[in-house]
């Protein structure tokens, strides 16, 4: 019989396997034109009080100069029962790249729900906060491109607020603004919440000046502060607007409010 083809894999190649792996190093550099991130704009803000924490965020979602939608929440209840998170006492706010924000929220929510199944008790904010840090740090080399703020009530019944960078560095704070208008809102908060650059009248000049001491604010004041911060941010930042979503966490649960903002 005439010689039929050998059917053997070619020399030097990886063969006819279905999954091919590169065997030769590629010469030169390859250019990627795909960038996996975008900025969806918007701003968030959190303030903790003596027995409550308020988280707020505008509801505009942008892509460049386009508005994707006027209602895309950046605040998410974490834990609790079912898809509506009934009975939850923790809120996560994420701003930055919305797709990563949603993925992060779903991961944390699942973990907090699994925690309750496995331990028979709800997770504390402190534990949840540290877990969130680990989730972010785990993706250190392909980060979730978000600034997260986590709010809740701590074990002493005090308002708790944690803020994060995209790779998981975190700290507990009294107040924090994040996102597009963070640089506009944060100095206002420093002045009005932590009373920075405010001194006791008549306490003298120079080194004699007595700095005003910051104390936890009542809830009404904080809500007004948040609304003022956002109405002002809307005036000066194009990516902020449309609506203001607020979540107020107390020992009795989470209250949610919505205030329209300018849509221009």
């Amino acid at each position: 019989m005439a010689s039929v083809f050998t059917g053997a894999p070619p020399q030097g190649g990886p063969g006819y396997s279905f999954k091919q792996t590169p065997t030769v190093a590629l010469s030169g550099e390859r250019q990627h034109s795909f960038y996996p991130y975008t900025d969806n704009g918007g701003s968030t803000l959190g303030i903790s009080g003596a027995d409550f924490t308020i988280l707020a965020g505008d509801t505009r979602s942008t892509h460049g100069y386009n508005i994707n939608t006027r209602y895309a929440p950046k605040l998410f209840k974490i834990g609790g029962e079912g898809p509506e998170n009934k009975g939850s006492r923790i809120v996560l706010s994420v701003v930055g790249f919305a797709a990563d924000g949603d993925a992060l929220k779903e991961r944390l929510d699942t973990i907090v729900k699994m925690y309750k199944y496995q331990h028979g008790k709800s997770i504390t904010v402190a534990a949840c906060a540290q877990r969130l840090s680990h989730i972010l740090y785990n993706k250190r080399f392909f980060p979730y491109y978000v600034h997260a703020i986590l709010g809740g009530i701590d074990e002493d019944g005090k308002g708790a607020l944690y803020s994060y960078d995209p790779v998981g560095s975190y700290e507990r704070e009294q107040c924090r603004a994040a996102g597009a208008a963070a640089s506009l809102i944060m100095p206002f908060l420093d002045n009005q919440v932590n009373l920075k650059n405010q001194y006791e009248p008549g306490s003298g000049t120079g080194h004699d000046l007595q700095a005003k001491l910051a104390q936890p604010l009542p809830r009404k004041d904080v809500e007004d502060l948040v609304r003022d911060a956002f109405t002002s941010a809307v005036e000066r930042h194009i990516e902020v607007g449309d609506g203001l979503q607020m979540m107020i966490i107390t020992k009795d649960g989470i209250e949610e409010t919505f205030t329209p903002l300018k849509k221009d």
Binding site: T6, G7, Y16, P22, P36, N66, T69, Y71, A103
Partner: protein, 260 residues
């Protein structure tokens, strides 16, 4: 008969000589889509009080060349949902096959609760996000139109980055610049959806298709339009733009040979 299945279907060495494997390089790295090749332009959609209207033209462009003029970019899914595709057409065809296999699987497993628009949007958004996270994106911008679990109108988008959002009106690509302002005049917020009839929604979407044809160079006057309601999907794939007015062209000054 050759006993090596790997060699089946290949040219016989004794007839053609041994195959030159350099013609079919398999030992390089897998290539990912780095830019779209054959593309579809805008998809526009709007909710109305008992459903959603969605439309896209039938053109697939190869750069600035109008390459394929009969490409259907609206896809029906299990008679309840319509997916509109903007962006790369080959990735659209991949997603089409993916949705077909999903539909077949669903039909075998459960018959009581078919996937609704909301379910399908979640699924597609996760596919898109997974692919972008693998640095192997599906170069599309999808609009998913239909009804949610409570039979309320549902309209949402998912893009190549996995970004998702929902709005009473949505438009991809050029439509985001040209169609959205027109659509938002009729449907400024979620509350206004209740006040808009099917006829109004269809009319405004057709108007948008016309404006897009006037000003988007990669568009065409043949388009598909679908209306999704509780009693099913009405999909028309061979519509032609009507009542075009080129009167404005007379007044345009300053282009080409026209100097004064």
């Amino acid at each position: 008969m050759n006993h090596f299945p790997q060699a089946w279907g290949r040219p016989r060495d004794d007839v053609y000589g041994s195959y030159d494997h350099s013609h079919f390089q398999t030992n390089g790295p897998n290539q990912h889509t780095q830019s779209p090749i054959v593309t579809g332009t805008s998809v526009v959609a709007a909710k109305f009080k008992d459903g959603v209207v969605i439309a896209a033209d039938n053109l697939a462009s190869y750069g600035s060349l109008a390459r394929f003029t009969d490409v259907k970019r609206l896809r029906k899914f299990n008679d309840q949902v319509v997916v509109g595709f903007g962006g790369d057409v080959s990735d659209m065809q991949y997603l089409d096959r993916l949705l077909l296999s999903l539909d077949i699987r669903e039909n075998y497993s459960s018959t009581e609760n078919p996937l609704n628009a909301k379910n399908l949007h979640t699924y597609l958004a996760k596919v898109m996000y997974k692919r972008r996270s693998d640095f192997n994106p599906l170069w599309n911008h999808l609009l998913i139109a239909g009804l949610d679990g409570e039979d309320k109108p549902f309209l949402a988008s998912a893009d190549l980055l996995g970004t998702t959002f929902s709005s009473p009106t949505l438009a991809t690509g050029f439509g985001g610049h040209l169609a959205q302002p027109i659509l938002r005049k009729l449907l400024p917020d979620e509350a206004s959806v209740e006040r808009v009839s099917e006829e109004q929604a269809v009319e405004v979407v057709k108007e948008c298709m016309k404006v897009l044809f006037y000003r988007d160079a990669r568009s065409m006057d043949k388009y598909s339009i679908a209306v999704i309601k509780k009693d099913g999907v009405e999909l028309k794939e061979d519509e032609k733009l009507e009542n075009q007015s080129w009167a404005f062209a007379e007044r345009i000054r300053g282009y080409g040979t026209q100097t004064a």
